[in-house]
Amino acid sequence: MNARARLLVFALGALLLGGAYMAALSQLAPLGRGASAYADILNRVCVRERHITDVVTAVNFDYRGFDTLGEEFIMFTAVMGAVLLLRRGKDEVQAPQEDELTSRRGRRRSDAVALAGVVFTAVLLLFGSYVITHGQLTPGGGFQGGVIASTALWLVYLSGSYKVMRQVGPKPLVEAAEALGAAGYALVGLIGLFQGAAFLQNTLPPGSIGSPFSGGTVPLIDIAVGLEVSGGFVLLLLTFMEEVLEIRLH
């Protein structure tokens, strides 16, 4: 395809996309107003009905819990796909133990970085667990908390070494966390079935508003998603790091 034909295809695409985009923008409600009727209803009934003060989490894990189950498995499949693609090929071998990248070309890590890493590893783990377990009360939840908690292990690498990171987060444990989390969500859905209701219906007692144990099945799903997401992100990081530090072309 020559340059002129390319430009023509681009112009056509840009014109179509731009037109549709402008048409869509003109239909938007003004800034800060015009939430849908569905949103209005949920805002009114959510706290009374489910004793959940973060309506976003209530929509994700309760009112639309089944959709989110699908989304969770999208992430699960994506991580599995990356791990499968990065498996060791026939032309790849184990790198020598003292790889130049492992020892960062012999340079020592500064004490300031090591200290900050140790402190923030603890802070991130704690904050991640907080966000996971308070999903029904404040903004956040399993996904957000899981991602935040997974960054703690990356700090272990920055402040310690690759070896320490592998010791703190052994692959079998990480894989088990991801699998348990993914399965846990589906298993929580069965609670509703056993109580004679629909799959993923929130049939557990809602608890008192504002308590960490309120919201029925929602905190359980938060924990399951937290495990799945933190496990998935850490597994992705471990796989990428392995590819760089341990596997070399033959």
Binding site: D54, V56, Q144, V147, I148, T151, L237, F240, V244, L249
Partner: protein
Amino acid sequence: MLVLQVASLVLVAMGATAVILTRNPLRQSLSMSLYGLLLTLMFFLFQAPDVALAQIAVGAVALPLMILLALSKVKQNERDAAYARQRDEKASQGERRDKPSSRKGQE
């Protein structure tokens, strides 16, 4: 509030342009990390703290880190391939010195 919201939108538009204009992939991973922070700020100012919490970890840390690791692997493969080429060349030169007669015979 509206002023801050407009300012964050302008910053996001400028940040996205900056990421596109950064042509070096290594630098692009850093500019994208900053862009992730700007997006986080925008989500927060538009009262979507749930999204902001996810964005700050994924957009500002995880994605740039994945790109850095991928770039590192690409460089490593290039180095290894160059090294293997050199080794093969040396080996074939040594062969030529060892058996000049047999090479002549082939020619």
